[in-house]
């Protein structure tokens, strides 16, 4: 018997329900309002009163409306067909909804139950299996989508039968498993999993040891993110957070991309809908949309579902990780999620923490970031979830609770700076304040030096130092005037400008410059450092400035040219000539 209840109080989307039985924390319930069912989640229980947050508008709700509890937490439906889909925060399929407007209480199925998938068995009768073991696979687009023993299965099972190769629907019986007590369990292509709980089923979660290429130089060269790592991008509005995230989504070296548009502009999601089906994945040549799932809870959609949206997105990533794939989760923006938590905490009249955010904000954020990671699966293969979130600090001030809490949880920090954005130096990532903790991991350093070049990490440190030094002398030149400092100061400054313009700045709207493969990044960094090492013996600062301006211009043309093309080599010749002449 399901627990039921009746509505006794309403403040905006926080509803109190008098219950007639047992409920659990985070259990889902449906409130009946004139035949329409509104989905809600239990967030607090005191005595016979359950406090539920409603995922929809509560307009017209009355004291006395009936409520039915569902017996489980908010779950994601996992199976073939997740890719290329567009869901709201509760995983309703937005593409199959009728009408222009979202209707309250309209819930659509995340997966297509009628579609046929071509199944190939992996497990054999007699195999011993446990949760997350692979039973077979279907081709989802071009990716092998593994059909697994459901994550909720505890203990060991023996495979009794597996369906033969052929075309099946997602609800068809794919295997029968027998547990230790001799009881039979049917496995289909679909399974459900509560989004707030991390999916396990792996052997271990080692420290990340290899980097994930993004094609964005300021990330890959200066502060690389590890595969299975975490990073965040804080920045005031208008600094290019979304452009940078979209660039990573387009170019990231991952097999699965999940984009969670959490409380942001709807037109930005429209941009993804419009562009991704056309754009090509630079790593596979397939259409970007084929590897992408969009979870979209824009700023005007119900606030409570914002929190659900990031968890749903993470659960889908973890599901693909269990298949041995590289998943990348991009969430824009986690501040909106934190604000949703704040609104609810406020309505529950909890004692507030800093800026009226709930006091456990920091714990919630670090718990979420900790779900990312590279894992070793039971069959020895690896899978990973890399997570990059954006943060929208109020007033652009990084000393606010969401930024501070995230800084404790994420290992990479890409600080977008108003000043750089004003000067149109995009991506506006501050090269000095940003960091990647992964550069401190010996295994990552070893990986980078082996993959890129022997002294890569040293070269990067050198370049960083030049940028830092350049910033310092720029201030002195500003105070003392061009004539007030020795020519060597100007040279220092222009070296850092060279690195800034050639390596750090990148045109996200230029076909060639937008994506720089690691090999090209190595080449360009070494070439820039060669210029920085050259001794020019300038007579005065004017000569220094014009030489470097010329160099920067030539280097930029190089960035716009196909790598190793005739044009590229032509510019290279010009640069070598400048170095030789001086």
């Amino acid at each position: 018997m399901k627990t039921t209840g009746i509505v006794t109080g309403i403040i905006s989307n926080l509803v109190t329900v008098r219950i007639d039985g047992h409920v659990s924390q985070n259990e889902i319930c449906y409130i009946d309002i004139d035949g329409t069912k509104l989905m809600a989640e239990v967030i607090k229980v005191t005595g016979k009163n359950a406090f539920v947050q409603v995922y929809e508008s509560t307009r017209g709700l009355k004291q006395g409306n009936t409520v039915e509890f569902d017996g489980h937490m908010l779950e994601a439906t996992l199976g073939p067909g997740l890719l290329s889909s567009c869901y709201d925060g509760l995983q309703n399929n937005l593409t199959t909804m009728e009408g222009v407007f979202l209707k309250r209480g309209e819930y659509t199925d995340p997966l297509d139950h009628g579609k046929l998938w071509h199944f190939t068995p992996i497990a054999k009768p007699g195999d011993k299996v446990s949760a997350a073991c692979w039973i077979g696979e279907v081709k989802e687009g071009w990716l092998p989508h593994k059909i697994m023993v459901p994550f909720s299965f505890k203990g060991e099972y023996t495979v009794e039968s597996v369906s033969a190769e052929g075309d099946y629907k997602i609800d068809d019986k794919m295997a029968v498993l027998v547990d230790a007590q001799g009881e039979k369990h049917v496995v289909t292509m679909v399974q459900k999993w509560p989004v707030k709980i991390a999916i396990g089923g792996y052997v271990e979660k080692p420290r990340p040891y290899r980097i994930m290429e993004t094609g964005v130089r300021v990330i890959d060269t200066f502060n690389p993110i590890a595969e299975g790592g975490t990073g965040f991008i804080p920045g005031p509005f208008g600094c290019g957070k979304t452009v940078l995230q979209h660039a990573i989504a387009k170019q990231g070296d991952a097999e699965i991309i999940v984009m969670a548009a959490c409380g942001e502009r709807a037109n930005e999601v429209v941009e993804i809908f419009t562009e991704f089906p056309e754009l090509v994945d630079p790593h596979t040549g397939r259409k970007l949309m084929e590897r992408t799932t969009i979870i979209c809870n824009t700023s005007n959609m119900p606030v409570a579902a914002r929190e659900a949206s990031v968890y749903t997105a993470m659960t889908i990533c973890e599901y693909y990780r269990a298949m041995g794939m590289k998943a990348l989760l991009l969430a824009d923006s986690t501040s909106r999620w934190a604000q949703a938590l704040r609104e609810m905490s406020n309505r529950m009249e909890e004692l507030p923490g800093a800026d009226a955010f709930p006091v456990d904000l920091s714990a919630i954020i670090s718990n979420f970031y900790s779900r990312a990671g590279i894992v070793k699966l039971k069959n020895g293969q690896t899978g990973s979830v890399t997570f990059i979130g954006t943060v929208s600090p109020a007033g652009g001030n990084l000393k606010e609770p969401v930024t501070e809490s995230t800084k404790k949880a994420a290992r990479c920090f890409y600080a977008l700076e108003q000043n750089r954005a004003d000067q149109k130096r995009y991506p506006a990532v501050n090269p000095v304040d940003s960091y990647s903790k992964y550069l401190e991991y010996p295994e990552v350093v070893e990986f980078l030096n082996a993959k890129i070049s022997r002294n890569w990490v040293d070269n990067v440190a050198k370049a960083k130092n030049l940028v830092r030094r350049g910033k310092e002398v720029a201030e002195q030149i500003n105070i003392l005037g061009d004539d007030g400092v020795p020519v060597s100061y100007h040279e220092q400054f222009w070296k850092s400008e060279l690195i800034d313009f050639v390596i750090l700045q990148q045109d996200a709207f230029d076909r060639i410059d937008a994506i720089t493969p690691l090999e090209r990044q190595r080449y360009m960094l070494e070439l820039v450092l060669k210029v920085c090492d050259a001794s020019f013996n300038f007579d005065d600062f004017d000569q220094c400035r014009s030489t470097y301006k010329n160099l920067i211009n030539t280097f930029r043309q190089m960035n716009y040219s196909e790598f190793n093309s005739e044009k590229f080599n032509g510019y290279l010749g010009q640069i070598n000539k400048i170095i030789a002449n001086e």
Binding site: G99, Q339, N346
Partner: protein, 442 residues
């Protein structure tokens, strides 16, 4: 609003605050409307049989034995073609002496458009103001505010933009409008002979602030009727959103909510987003474009209201007084239209984005030269030419009293380049310079 038969009247209030009253009542639904001694109120909280009502016009003089009547429905607006040319108050009642509008009653603050059903905005909205059309081109379906200090002529600029824009309907949502400004809008609309395509919802400063909270929803419900049902291009003007946010903070304060930054409610972002995100390009050709005004306190954009607005809207237009020329200009550095690249060079001439970038870059060089001058350093010949250019640029392009076509703006910009600079100094692609550089100059 008339009462229904057999309607129960409650006459015992349990509590009264400055904006709310609480009473015991049965069968009341959330967001429902009521009257308290004839004043319109809305249910904001239900706890057991205790119902809290927010009275829009304030609780001054409300006795504990006031008559409370519940309507059983949320605030709504009667929509039909007859809305055109009319002026209404925050409750959707006519204030122009005309009859009440007959039509379908639609609840205000309705549901959102399914993001998957939206289309990418792609239609240019020309305004004749070069600081907007050339540097920060507006696109239908966009939402963008003017950030302006209270002493700047933002309402005048907005009225100009609205009357020049090629749209089917203009809907004005005036919040805390001074009576003078209300009359100004009315006069402008009437004298432009455009009254039949304009609908106004107005709350003036002499009316209670909480009423303002209804204005954007009223205006946008009317906008959705014309954009969705009639496939029309609708432009919505909201002025002043800062006063709207102030009203929000008053209500949340009365409801004992814990304030967040700048004593604004924690839900400010969602509250503003719900309004601005109504801007949409619909699949069947209709669109809602929102131009708003957010007044600033001495140019401070880190205050919670402009800050949250900036995260929601697709850019912002900054008004600034240019002391060198005495003109009010659209600041080219701090203004931004995030959607401009969707139309620049696509719906306008090929040289648009290059000319825009070059002209702003040279203006930036002029600012650097100005700083140099102020710090007592010597100016180079280039610096001096930049300063001369900056004056011409401010008067002929940036000033809000410019009214020319985009083609003329581009030609004006080329003429200024030719007057003050040589070809290489603009940094524009060679092919474009060959084609557009005015003849007979250096």
């Amino acid at each position: 609003m008339s009462s229904r038969a057999f309607q129960r009247i409650y006459t015992e209030l349990e509590a009264i605050t400055k904006a709310t009253v609480t009473l015991r009542a049965q069968g009341v639904s959330n967001d429902e409307l009521a009257t308290v001694n004839g004043r319109l109120a809305q249910v904001v909280k239900i706890k057991g049989d205790l119902v809290t009502l927010q009275i829009f016009s304030g609780t001054e003089g409300i006795p504990t034995d006031a008559d409370v009547l519940f309507f059983g429905k949320a605030p709504s607006l009667n929509v039909s073609e007859n809305l055109s040319g009319r002026f209404f108050n925050a409750y959707g009642e006519p204030i122009d002496g005309g009859p009440a509008v007959e039509g379908e009653a639609r609840q205000i603050g309705g549901p959102s458009v399914n993001p998957y059903k939206r289309r990418q905005p792609s239609e240019l909205i020309p305004t004749g103001i070069a600081g907007i059309d050339l540097n920060n081109t507006l696109v239908s379906g966009q939402k963008i505010p003017f950030f302006a200090d209270p002493d700047q002529p933002y309402n005048q600029v907005m009225a100009k933009v609205a009357l020049r824009a090629d749209v089917d309907k203009i809907i004005l949502g005036g919040m805390g409008l001074s009576n003078d400004d209300y009359l100004y809008f009315r006069h402008e609309f009437e004298s432009a002979g455009a009254l039949d395509k304009i609908i106004s919802f107005v709350n003036t400063t002499d009316q209670p602030p909480v009423e303002r909270l209804l204005i954007p929803d009223m205006a946008l419900t009317a906008a959705e009727y014309f954009a969705v049902d009639k496939n029309e291009k609708v432009l919505v003007l909201l002025t002043d959103m800062t006063l709207y946010a102030d009203a929000l903070s008053i209500v949340s304060n009365r409801m004992d909510q814990i304030p967040s930054k700048d004593s604004m409610p924690g839900s400010l972002y969602s509250d503003l987003a719900k309004i601005y995100e109504k801007a949409v390009q619909l699949p069947d050709g209709g669109s809602i474009t929102i131009i708003a005004v957010t007044t600033l306190n001495d140019g401070d954009i880190t205050h919670a209201i402009p800050d949250n607005t900036g995260y929601i809207t697709e850019g912002q237009l900054f008004l600034r007084a240019d002391t060198d020329t005495g003109k009010t200009i659209i600041d080219p550095f701090r203004s931004l239209s995030r959607l401009k690249q969707l139309v620049q060079g696509k719906k306008t001439r090929e040289d648009h984005s290059q000319v825009m970038n070059a002209s702003v870059r040279l203006y930036a060089d002029a600012q650097n030269a100005k700083t140099k001058l102020e710090n007592g350093f010597d100016l180079s010949d280039y610096d001096k030419r930049c300063l001369e250019y900056a004056k011409d640029y401010a008067v002929n392009i940036l000033s809000i009293d410019v009214n020319i076509s985009i083609e003329e703006m581009l030609n004006t910009a080329w003429a200024l380049f030719a007057k003050h600079f040589d070809r290489t100094e603009t940094g524009i692609k060679d092919a474009l310079v060959e084609k557009y550089w005015p003849d007979g100059s250096k």
